[in-house]
Symmetry: C2
Subunit: 245 residues, 2 copies
Amino acid sequence: MGITLRETVKDGDLICSPHTPNCSTCTSRHLSVCAALGTEELVTFDHVVQHRGAPAKTLLFEQGQKADFVFSVSEGTIRLFRLLPDGRRQITGFAIKGDFLGVALDETYDVCAEAVDAVRFCRIPRSSFVTMVDEKPHLLRKLHQIAGRELHFSQDQMVLLGRRNAEERVAAFLLSHRARLSRVMTCSVTIPLPMSRSDIADYLGLTIETVSRTISKLAREKLVVVVPDGIRLLDVARITELAGG
Amino acid sequence: MGITLRETVKDGDLICSPHTPNCSTCTSRHLSVCAALGTEELVTFDHVVQHRGAPAKTLLFEQGQKADFVFSVSEGTIRLFRLLPDGRRQITGFAIKGDFLGVALDETYDVCAEAVDAVRFCRIPRSSFVTMVDEKPHLLRKLHQIAGRELHFSQDQMVLLGRRNAEERVAAFLLSHRARLSRVMTCSVTIPLPMSRSDIADYLGLTIETVSRTISKLAREKLVVVVPDGIRLLDVARITELAGG
DNA sequence: CGTTTCGTTGATATTAATCAACGAGCGTGG
DNA sequence: CCACGCTCGTTGATTAATATCAACGAAACG
C-alpha cells in the first residue's frame, strides 16, 4: 500500500526483448486483439508495434496520464490499479499474457499499470491503433467484444466487493485467476501467484492480514497448500462451494 | 433484499406509450446511441424500435436469459443487479433517461433489470440491432465509446466498494447520481431518489440501516436535508470532501 | 552480513452488520 | 370512512467481521 511514485518507464529503461521479433511468431497472437487481424494486416501491425520488456515494479503508465500507447501483454503479470489521494489502493485487475490494455481507446489512462514481475509486452502508439481500428470494423468489433468481457468481469467484481465475505473473496479469486491462467498455460491445480499478499488484498478489498489469515484457514482445512509464489488447490469442489455462486 | 422472482414482462403487460411515436421526436434522441445515427438511419431505426412503458417493479429481463432485445431508457429509473444464490443482491447501476442496456451485445443478459418507478423505454430486437451495428461502423464506434464510459464507471465503483467507508460511499453516490441526472434534467441541489434505501444499500455494498444512519448523520451535520423521495444537498463542497478523491 | 521486505500470527479496536422495536405512510377491504 | 396489514425508513442495542496495531521469523537484497 502507500503511494509509490516512480518515474514512468522511458524508452531507455525498457529491455528490448529478442524473443518476439514480430507479430507472426508471437505466442500471444491468437489470444489478443491481434486474433482479429488477417495475415496481411498483421504485417501493417508489425510496422507500428514496439516489443518491449520491463523488470518487476516498473510503472508502465499512470492514471490520468496521456495515453500514448495501447498494450498487449506477452509475458508476466501487470497490476492495474486506482489510487485514492490518501494512498488507499484498489487493484482493478491483473493483466496476463494475451490481455490488452487500452480497450476503451481513451485519451488518458484511467488506471495505473505496474509490472508485478518481469514482463514482456508490445505497445502500439494509440494514434496508429485508432487509425487501424477506424479503418477495420472487424478490429473494432473484436475490441468491443473484449470490452464486453471486461464489463462482465467488473460486474462479477462488484458483487465480490460489495456482497461477499473474506473467505468467499479469496476462494473466488483463486478460482477466477486459475480460469484466466488456464487460457494461456497449463496449471491444473497449482496456481502461480507472482503478486504479493498486499496486491491480493488491494484487489479483494481486504487487508494483508485478512488475506493471510483466510489463506491459512483454507490451508488448515486442507483445501489448499501454500507453495512458494503460489497456491496449490487440493479440493477444487469445496473451494468452488466456498466461492459460492 | 431476498429473491423476487416474478414473470418477466410480456408484450401484453407493457403499456404502449403514446408520447414517443418515433425516434425523430424522441427527447432522449441526442443522449443515447441514437446520437450516432443520421436522419435517414433514424428512419430505419424507427422501423425496428418498439416504444414501451412499464409500471414500477416490472422485471424487464433477467440475468442469464436470452437477450432478445437491447434497450434505451426514455423515462424513469431502472435498477440493474446481480443476485447470489442465497439472495444477496448487488446493484451494478441505475439506468436513467438516455442510458443504453445491452452495450456488450451479448447473447444473454448478464444482469437483471427491474423498473424502480414507472418507466418508458424503447427496445430493439438484438438481432436487428446487431445487423445495424455490423453495417454501420460509426454506430459500433459509438457503442464502444459507451462501453468505455461504463468500464470507467465500474472502476470507480470497484474503488468505492473495495476501499471506501460508509460515509464516503453515500457521499459519492449522491454526487455521482447528481452528475448523471444533470445530463438529462436540471436538479441543481435537490436530487430525486426514486429508489428505496434497500436499493441504495445494495448499490453501495452496505445495509439499509447503515445507509439510513449515514444519511441521518449527514442531515444532523446540516450537509443535506432529506425530502420526500429525494435529498437536498446543502453543502456540496463538504460532501465532495467527504466523498474524497 | 546487516537491512529491508514479506508473510504470518496474536491481541485489540472499530466499523458495519444484525437483531429488534417503532412510527409513518399507503393501499385494501370491511 | 376507518381499521388493518404491509412496507418503509429510522433508531437503539448488541454482535460479528474485519481492520488496526504489534511482534516475529524467514526470505530477499544490497
